[in-house]
Symmetry: C2
Subunit: 527 residues, 2 copies
Amino acid sequence: MKSVTWNNLSNSRSFARLRTLPRPQQKPVESAAVGEQEIPITDALRYNYAAKGVTTEIEHALAAVAEEQQCIDKFEALAAGEVINSGEQRMVLHHLTRGQLMQSLLESADGLAQFYDQQHRRVADFASAVHQGRIKGSTGKPFDTVVQIGIGGSDLGPRAIYLALKNYALASAEGLKMRAHFISNVDPDDAAEVMSQLDPQTTLFILVSKSGTTQETLTNEAFVVELMQRAKIAGLQPHKHMIAVTSQTSPLASSDSYLDAFFIDDYIGGRYSSTSAVGSTILTLALGERIVAEFLRGAHDADRSALNRNVRSNAALMDALIGIYERNILGYPATAVLPYSQALSRFPAHLQQLDMESNGKSVNRYGKAIDYSTGPIIFGEPGTNGQHSFYQLLHQGTNIVPLQFIGFQSSQLQTDITVDGSTSQSKLNANLAAQIVAFSHGKSDADPNKSFSGGRPSSLLYAERLTPHTLGALLAHYENKVMFQGFLWNINSFDQEGVQLGKLLAKQLLSGHADGALGAYASMLQV
Amino acid sequence: MKSVTWNNLSNSRSFARLRTLPRPQQKPVESAAVGEQEIPITDALRYNYAAKGVTTEIEHALAAVAEEQQCIDKFEALAAGEVINSGEQRMVLHHLTRGQLMQSLLESADGLAQFYDQQHRRVADFASAVHQGRIKGSTGKPFDTVVQIGIGGSDLGPRAIYLALKNYALASAEGLKMRAHFISNVDPDDAAEVMSQLDPQTTLFILVSKSGTTQETLTNEAFVVELMQRAKIAGLQPHKHMIAVTSQTSPLASSDSYLDAFFIDDYIGGRYSSTSAVGSTILTLALGERIVAEFLRGAHDADRSALNRNVRSNAALMDALIGIYERNILGYPATAVLPYSQALSRFPAHLQQLDMESNGKSVNRYGKAIDYSTGPIIFGEPGTNGQHSFYQLLHQGTNIVPLQFIGFQSSQLQTDITVDGSTSQSKLNANLAAQIVAFSHGKSDADPNKSFSGGRPSSLLYAERLTPHTLGALLAHYENKVMFQGFLWNINSFDQEGVQLGKLLAKQLLSGHADGALGAYASMLQV
């Protein structure tokens, strides 16, 4: 394995050269390009960037930047257990939760692959005991509902994945194992509302906090216990309805108050923890072991493809490089993620966290200020809904917003009808194809209000159907894209110091130390 | 009433002068300012902009821009029935759905105030017959569930409002009248999933389309009818379970296939239709007449305050002007909307449509190209969730994103507990106060990775509690802010030609006319 050196993007000669190249004229995408500019991620999932307007010359220059910034060497170093999270001096091992990428990791991080795998197996055994009624609620009723109490990385990813696969499970032979709900916000209305929909006797709660000290999560745990007690159900013991997902050193790990505990560690960042026990516990309970195994396999397959040294065969790297080009050369401040799939309704919210929390940084991995733009704003909603909402600005606004479409040839539930000669799924995909072309080609009109300038770049991730395997690959594709962009910008994508100041001030306020403006706002809000 | 002239922002002398003023140093917000820079919108809702870093000098200059661009004169002209929607040559009358603002409208648009009011009353009578069981399902069971089938403006606003007030209704003496669901996407998985949760015998569907030709909505109507028929329930007549909200000239209005129909007209744009029958039908059925009346009253009260000629007493105008300053002088491309209230979880998605579809334009109201930035990107999620997600970028990213916080002193369900000496509601608001101060003040640290530059501007809309009246005012505040920004930019905020090209191409594709790139994408997606 090559040793790596860490350099700012602004010191890269290849990047300097990229700047000198003529910018593409954003020509309308041609049908020939549609077949050519495409990279497989797995057997099922493909990344098509024909409508990005990237010329062969720019593609080559981007490949040179990836080479000079040692993107693949750095991914290999990460996968082999080097301390990539420089700020917190930690390894970055979320890839290991879905499979071994580098044999050498066995030496540098002995036992961790086994540890993550063991947790998945413990989860599967526990889930199977719950499904078979061997583990029951404290009043003797079987569990049929599971509630994740967690926030940020312990909420957005697992929630998005559950929503994405719930209907897949429903339509499968085994069906959905348990209904899942999520409590995240410290707003008391969040927990109160979820609780109002549940029968506490048949509900299992999963408390998820790596540190075991997350304010929202501990508060919501107490909230749930209190509401269960207020229900005054004879024999109901709240802590017999709770399991924990936490690190082995956290206060939760050693507590007797839980039915069981499953573990993660410091090498799995919150926003990268969907494939660790943070995600697998609720997903295995709700969807079953088989679906989770396929999901993990999909992520692993995408990870393997992200190790490819040829940019033209590495979709995550190509996606990352085009993003850098759009951000640092073309100066676009945001990217929209637009899944044409209602099942992916919360996937953009997860990607918003993954990307903005990882790469919304102003210092390099050594803590020195950098003088170029890093992570863009990420937002999005499912199509066709977005078409009737914010697409107006995307088509005719004064800023260009690069677009990432996601689409599937078939629906998940496979319940469909034909109206006016086409199915709903055909209408959905006709709209998707039409949007890609409309954004790229534009249209001139004698009335400038009805003119479309075109030249608005987009890419498309697509597969036959949104299966667990494809979803795993989709998730890993974005994780790897964000990782590569961090390497290119020379920032640490695995810490989040920017969330600390607010926490600190809130704590001061709650312990009565509020003066000046903080006190003024607190009194306005009756804290 | 003054006659108005329409000028580009770039021709405004006051705006040119604003450019020459020293930019504020983005000083940390001081406690004295917190009490001073605040404007009441209604008795309950207030707009605080102390943390926006706007100096008195800039405030005066902004007031001069508002004066020169005749913002209030134009609002009066709009309210009096002038043809403000220049592209489509229509009046803009959504304010009239919640009350009369200008007496003169009675002359220029005779009967329309009565028309909107009559529709609300017809809706209330119908809802009351449903609630009392005088109108029942076709198999004789009372209706307990209502489903809105609509997209864009017929979906996002009503959905956000229902979610915002559902718990308020639950906690009220009368309770929730009916459960509501929404079907919007043409993705067949959307309708199939909603239908799988319902008993068709007790469900009432509302088909909402102004034109009566919206592809998604008509397809989903057919979808719902088909699924009801497939259920093979003896005596079930799908069209006895359907009402329509449409314009009087649409194909739906004259159909015998509906139990009843309620009307809107061309003077109510989709994204402004939440206070028309588009919103009031589902909201009255689900929440009851009293809550809807309070909601409309809140919107009307905010409208009245937006007519105030003194910018220091007109929160919508001040909010609009500060937005222009941030967009056109400071060059910030996006704004985040951050409600500290789980009930407002989908309110940012509604505002995203309202703002981006209204002001994402590149031509002025006469169809001439303009040379300055218009509508920003709008995105957001509830706090404290967002704190554990994208706030990292907001605090330490390389772009500054102006923030709009929303907060309430008390919770909606009033179910709360004390943990570590504070309630969940106190924790929620301590976090909100802490964030405002953290973004403004920042914090220096020897480790640049732990430093916060501060100077990140925010405003706060706050009230005692999220009531129907307050929500109405909040909604109208944003509608009026967007309207004022349209006046300032000299664009037409009431059309949406940018959504047409995609529709056209999708239609071509579905009728078999696909070649070139469009055909290539269609075949890739198996359209």
